[in-house]
Symmetry: C2
Subunit: 256 residues, 2 copies
């Protein structure tokens, strides 16, 4: 027997679209067919409630499915085009860093734009990375826009939050990571030529407006830009580094 | 002597935020300090009117500067955070393809998301490319969101619009471009290993939801994804191809 959403559920869905509402909750919101599909596939145990438009085709035993009319769906979503499906999920609990498994540590410093932060998570996941370090001042990795941009990849990665780059460095140093490369739009060796770039090292991506914060002993590294056009979007810069890592693995035949 | 905006100017600014309004106009809208700064630097002759918040610091002889109070600025912009400056500019006239100067042709097929389309233009510009081919079904390259994402790079590139991939192929073939590579998330040789990928060839980027359209004789090429996670965002895929081209140029010492 089908039912409608309770007032409490409607309130929760709306509050999860606000930063304040998310802070007070251990739940998060996933929107759209592809994004929800990934979440249902990868982490069905985190799914609490599935809400979909009455004509949306879905089968899932992960959680209860509540069907709503299209006009209600439009009110429940912040997206310009209302999605056919929404999921309320539990946030994976925050963890403290343990021995990383990635050969290099991807560090995001104050990436506050939710779209960029999510896109970087998605790209890192596609590249086979398992961990991301990020500093205070970054977007909330379980905000609705970040989840949408990441296609729910954050649910299956280890995301480690630290206060600042010094804290990241202290933590990574304990695990034997030696070199700290700070991406810089204007100075440093080329990312395509540094042989040790991904060997027990950290690659720090900063926001495009301010660059990465200062970090004592960090080595600048740059992306060659023959077009000489201001800087790249932060997510594009991260993508170039991440897939330079993939390319080197391919070339040395780690990946076939 | 300072003046206020005329009703006609306010109407124009608002109409340029809509697809319909842009279609009827040969003007376009550029928003934000960095984006407008690029436009003023690269194409001052296209600038018609500069509108800025009363406390915004600017000096320019490109066009008349009209200062408005903050609350009016918020109404003139579609952006969540109202910018300090807006520019009304003439669109560069559409041109028909002439002999391309880029060694490979970057072709965008139905990239309808304005943010992705703009980010790809910006990235191509940073890489030193001068031309982009795009098919019907793509976003309007002079829409406000596309200009913002591209940091106004479209004003200094040649953007060639064709009805579909067959028309692009016919045109490029006339200029001696031989191979047509269609990016594919699942099949084809690796983009890191095809030696002729950028030699008088076309690289076709499709939308992430649908991939590139079918094109007779096109060769599939793929980005290795060790993480085995659905597909990459279209702008990330384009970035990986564009900077693989830059990398190869660096390695062969074309760029120092």
């Amino acid at each position: 027997m089908s039912r409608t959403l309770t007032q409490k559920e409607v309130f929760l869905l709306k509050s999860l679209q606000t930063r304040h509402g998310r802070k007070r909750s251990d739940r998060c919101l996933c929107e759209g067919a592809r994004c929800c599909g990934e979440l249902l596939k990868s982490c069905p145990d985190l799914v609490e409630l599935i809400v979909c438009r009455d004509d949306f085709a879905i089968e899932s035993s992960a959680a209860e499915i509540v069907r709503v009319p299209g006009h209600q769906m439009a009110k429940l979503s912040a997206a310009e085009t209302p999605p056919g499906i929404l999921i309320v999920a539990r946030r994976p609990p925050a963890t403290v860093p343990e021995l990383p498994s990635d050969p290099f540590a991807l560090v995001l410093d104050c990436i506050s734009d939710p779209g960029n932060f999510g896109t970087i998570i998605r790209t890192a996941k596609a590249a086979g990375l398992q961990e991301i370090w990020y500093t205070d001042g970054s977007a909330d990795p379980f905000g609705d826009k970040v989840i949408r941009s990441a296609m729910a990849a954050q649910f299956t990665m280890k995301l480690w939050n630290m206060s600042d780059l010094t804290a990241v460095k202290n933590s990574l140093s304990q695990f034997g990571y030696k070199n700290f490369y700070r991406t810089d739009p204007h100075q440093g060796d080329s990312c395509f030529e540094l042989p040790e770039l991904f060997e027990r090292s950290a690659v720090i991506i900063g926001s495009e407006a301010h660059g990465a914060s200062d970090l004592k002993g960090a080595i600048p590294v740059t992306i060659p830009m023959p077009g000489n056009f201001e800087s790249l979007n932060a997510a594009q810069a991260a993508t170039i580094f991440i897939f330079e890592y993939v390319r080197r693995q391919c070339v040395t035949n780690v990946i076939q």
